[in-house]
Amino acid sequence: MHILPYLVAAYVFVTGCYGLATSRNLIHAVGCLAVCQSATYVLLLAVGYRDGATAPVFSDIAPGSRPVVDPVVQALTLTDIVVGATVTALLLALVLQIAKRHGTVDPDELRELRG
């Protein structure tokens, strides 16, 4: 078992969080959220990896003839990507409306809801 992919996943997640916490632009913040989500892709694919294994496609190899990587996590990653596309699209649409209604996309200047 390699530890590196897990460290990469944790690093990517924390980097995205850092970007979110310090963001000065909401479009950048939505991008940072997508970075956090990329960490989940890395982690899921790392979980399913096997040394010397091939893609889990059985059109040209006989089942059981050689090891394949875990297809479940790949299905999960695909679903995750679909979820991520929806979230990013919706949040960017909201940022667009914020830019129109507030005239700014800097979270430091959005101070209507507080207290």
Partner: protein
Amino acid sequence: MHHLIPLLVAVPLLGAALLVATGRVLPRIAAEITGFVVSGGTAALAVVLLLNSEPPMVEWIGGWLPVGGESVGILVVGDGPALGMATAVSLLTLAALAYAWRYFDEPLGGHSGAFTALMLVFQGAMCGFAIAGDLFNAFVFFELMSVVAYALTGYRIDEAKAVQGALTFGVVNSLGAYAMLMGIALLYARTGELAMTKIGRGLDATGHGGPDALVLASFVLVLTGLLVKAAAVPFHFWLPDAHAVAPTPVCMLLSGVMVELGAYGVWRVYGTVFAGPGGIPAADLTRALVTLGTLTAAIGAVMCWYQRHIKRLLAYSTVAHTGLFLVGLGILTPEGDDGVALYILGHAGVKAALFACAGVLLDRFGSVDEHALHGQARRLRATGVMFAVGALGLAGLPPFGTALGKSVTEEAVGGPLTLVFVAASAITAGAVLRVTARVFLGLGPRPEDAEYETSGSDEEPETSGLLSRIPDTMTTVPAVLLAAAFAAGVAPGFGAVVARSVNEAGSGGAHVFVHWTLTGVLLGVASSVLAVALAGLAVTRPGWTAAPGWAAPLRRLQSGHVGDYVAWLLMGATVLGALALPGVLGS
């Protein structure tokens, strides 16, 4: 019968697809009736399934049954709590749709079915989360209900506050969901399973006598996601911002059931995944949930008291009550689970009714500001009475369903924690009674404005222009909801039925007899009296109950800045890990 469980998700989703496809040509009335039929049909199905949920049902979707104990199929469970939550979700969606009848007079972009379709997707997603039997589908439905909730919160896209609240809600909740997915991936790495019960067994088999760092990490990550949804301190900052700006029918669902689904998720995931010897020891979960729950109840109650924006005030009262739910679940006794289940049901009715009344104010006066509306709503007698009754329900005045749930939970937690229950419910109910006295009765002097707060003036009414007359649906719906919350407490045997189905699913059949006790009734009456006293004091002596100096830093934390909320989320995850650490070190 169990083959019908997936329909709880499929029917609302198909109904929504139908509305989206035909919404542009369909007249508005046809779109809304379709929404009623689909939502009501799902509710009826949920009730029928709930009545047949003994013994608990399990369904592998599409007939992908396990072979030799291994399965790649999708599992849904139909036990009492799952179907009970699905029923509560469906009935409340039906109520919200009825309330929204003739509500938004200009359909968005000429699409008459848009709002109804979104509400149906929301219903389907919440039902899906309730019945999900494997963690990955729980995540998918968690994200689906979150995304629809962001869209519904920002439904009035021309309003500056609405889109800002929706974005904050979106960023914080999605980040929580991704943390949860990281945790699920770690659990899959350890056990090779996604079904919750099988992960639990896998952890016990590979645990070698106790949890290790990986189990702790996955526990913290999964619980972070669920507690963000449940709005536990310090993950709660998104909730007041979102609830203050969302359209009123949406608030009814957000506060009434969606936040509670987070607490339900904590109960379900801990009970089936982490409760075994390879998971997190019970003492650690109790420490984590009771600490965070008490903190949540305290901060929610204090912040609730100092609000003047009525919808924000109700949102903080939801925060305070979720704290109480987490304390009740955290002590891990069958009595605590039963009490919380009853409390959640009663709270859903009461809180949705209160939001519905706040919506009447918004559409009649274009404001939900306690100070600006001082004495304005004297003529809305029915709404005022319902607001006061709702406040007493919130305080837990017997025989409301909230009172029964609260008294059972109080008996279960015992000791000084009982005081937390009495205080949090009395303060939040006192704040609502104070609003009633000022807005509907015009009592007391008009209070002075504070420096750092969100006022509720200059809000756009959600109907086309201000209403001169309140439609019957907008007064009938809160009345029915309050009646339901009342009936949950007085209907003979209701508590026992809820308790039996919760225990059957959660505590291995350790049946508990749930009933009114003298102590519980007295504590409920004490909370109500305290609430009335607090409200009276606030109205007659505004100076005494104005925000003291120590509350100001607490209010500054709610900065409306999404970056701050993300930093709090990370800190909360760290605290959660620290609270659960001793059990891992000790094993």
